[in-house]
């Protein structure tokens, strides 16, 4: 009897593991194909599209790196400034709502939060006209400023919830000790709120890194392009030249590395970043 029970439990676990392995295989197979194709020469991939490379060649990577390097740095530059802007301005705003009493406080807060209900695509026409009139078409700031502004409502909401949990006594104690408001923010609130700030950093970084549509409208000049735009263009121009995709596939792999590296270095913050941002909504 005990044995049968044990077997039954064991059996369920095997089935669960099998289903997980199948899902894992299905999720990874396209990525695996990308990886092996990125090491193949064009003729190798044509004769043998599904097998391993005959010779593992790094030529695709060498060529892809030369082509996408400037765009990788454009993307990093834009994404890092956006992330810093969102976290800095969002935390100042949230701090104001948590630390101060001021007229129309609730109305102002709802005025910010209500922006969450306007999908970005709705205002894309007037946003474009605006950026154009400000002379920010073909300028990285034409991407950065609207992105920061668009993320302030979410950042404020996320940080305000977390900042409210910090004990008022602690903040008051710092004030009584002679700290200015900015010192309370800089030396008490920010260090205490590190986990939620990391969450915001990760959400903002992924958002900026993935952004395609708006940058493709604003950054028409080739030397200003971000990585996603460059990947799309590189794929079609390389295919036009050679009839293959080896080097663009290598570029896809390279462009996946920054987030992978951040994940491997800070996986704990990364996972909480991915989860807590939405649970708080």
């Amino acid at each position: 009897m005990e044995f049968v029970k044990f077997m039954r439990k064991y059996y369920v676990q095997i089935i669960l593991t099998l289903i997980i392995l199948i899902l894992l295989f299905l999720s990874f197979y396209p990525l695996y194909m990308l990886l092996i194709k990125s090491f193949k020469t064009i003729s190798d991939d044509q004769t043998n599209p599904f097998g391993l490379p005959k010779i593992w060649s790094f030529e695709n990577y060498e060529y892809a790196w030369i082509v996408i390097k400037p765009y990788l740095f454009n993307s990093l530059y834009i994404t890092i400034i956006e992330t810093i802007g969102i976290v800095f301005i969002g935390s100042l705003t949230a701090f104001a709502f948590v630390r101060f009493e001021f007229p129309y406080k609730n109305i102002i807060f709802y005025l910010i939060i209500s922006l969450l209900m306007i999908p970005g695509i709705v205002t894309i026409t007037s946003q474009y006209e605006l950026v154009n009139r400000l002379g920010l078409v073909n300028n990285h700031w034409g991407v950065i400023l609207p992105a920061i502004s668009g993320s302030i409502p979410f950042a404020t909401f996320l940080l305000k919830t977390s900042f409210s949990g910090v004990s008022t006594e602690l903040l008051d104690a710092a004030t009584i000790d002679g700290a200015s408001d900015f010192q309370v923010y800089r030396h008490v609130m920010i260090p205490i709120s590190k986990p939620i700030l990391w969450t915001l950093v990760i959400i903002s970084f992924i958002g900026g890194w993935n952004d395609y549509l708006w940058p493709s409208l604003v950054l028409l000049q080739e030397n200003l392009h971000t990585l996603p735009i460059a990947l799309v263009n590189f794929t079609s121009s390389y295919y036009g030249m050679t009839g293959g995709y080896g080097a663009p596939f290598a570029a896809y792999v390279i462009s996946s590395l920054p987030l992978l590296i951040i994940f491997l270095l800070a996986s704990k913050q990364f996972i909480t970043g991915l989860t807590s941002g939405s649970i708080k909504m």
Binding site: S27, Q46, L92, T125, E129, P248, S256
Partner: protein, 297 residues
């Protein structure tokens, strides 16, 4: 008396702290929706406001075959996407949650996070050039080849294009939502699960009667986010399918209609009217959902 109290309490330096956000928000977040509303009553081509034509844009939109086809498509994409997406991610969360070995469970969780790290544009390109590639080199064509079905053109076949868009990302488990569902399951008190075992409930009964009701908050969140995201995500159309093969509009959606009218045909006024309609749909969904949330609590 009350007025006096307020006077001493108010800390007006708060406005200094709000200055950075409001200087950005006024320009980039409050002005554009108002401008879009004005645009929607004009025949603007992007250079200035143009001529006021009152409701003409809206009348044109609501009498356009393309618009109804687009709405039909987006409803299908959102509903099917939401059902299969949530089913797949809840399934994965349950599988990982029910693994006895915590070490294997968290190892699998790590592995399923990796596909999230690939940029979304790259995922689309992988599906276009590797999975749904035409000819013999595509994975999908190879798979149907085992069943003696000839090569298909997937994204570029009028019948298959909408299905291909839905299939993109199969098995749809790699995303942040499985992490959130898993976190939800892990927050169920151990005693509740033990009690269900003592009452003789099997795994499926427990999932149906205990887990799913307790995940209701998360499910609701993903339903709303799926609706709002689904209404405005047009990367697939912009990068791969356009409005669909030929003039079929097989993959067209309202947001892509807006994009094309604005940036291909310079019809800012008409595009803005489409934008206003999308906004009102979002508003209705959000209000409906907030009311429902309140009613339930």
């Amino acid at each position: 008396m009350r007025k006096n109290q307020h006077k001493t309490k108010y800390q007006y330096q708060a406005f200094l702290w709000l200055l950075p956000s409001f200087s950005l928000l006024l320009v980039f977040s409050y002005y554009p929706p108002i401008r879009t509303l004005i645009f929607s009553f004009t025949n603007s081509n992007g250079a200035g406001v143009g001529k006021f034509i009152f409701l003409d844009n809206y009348i044109e939109l609501f009498t356009s075959q393309t618009f109804y086809r687009s709405v039909f498509n987006v409803v299908i994409f959102i509903i099917v996407g939401m059902i299969v997406g949530n089913f797949a991610t809840i399934l994965l969360a349950e599988l990982l949650f029910n693994l006895k070995s915590k070490i294997t469970s968290s190892l699998f969780r790590y592995l399923f996070i990796i596909p999230i790290l690939v940029p979304s544009v790259v995922i689309i390109l992988i599906w276009q050039y590797i999975v749904f590639a035409g000819g013999d080199s595509g994975i999908a064509n190879r798979v149907i080849g085992f069943f003696n079905i000839g090569n298909q053109n997937w994204y570029f076949d009028p019948k298959l294009a909408p299905i291909s868009i839905i299939l993109t990302g199969f098995p749809w488990v790699a995303g942040t939502s499985f992490l959130i569902y898993l976190a939800g399951l892990q927050s169920i008190p151990h005693s509740v699960i033990e009690a269900s075992k003592l009452d003789g409930a099997n795994l499926f009964q427990r999932i149906l009667k205990i887990d799913l009701p307790l995940l209701k908050g998360q499910i609701k969140y993903f339903v709303v986010m799926g609706l709002i995201g689904g209404l405005q995500n047009i990367n697939m159309q912009v990068l791969v399918t356009g409005s669909g093969p030929g003039t079929t509009n097989a993959t067209n959606v309202p947001a892509f209609m807006l994009y094309e009218e604005a940036f291909t045909y310079d019809r800012y006024g008409y595009a803005s009217a489409i934008g206003m309609v999308i906004f009102f749909i979002t508003l209705i969904i959000t209000i409906f959902n907030m009311k429902k949330l309140k009613g339930n609590d």
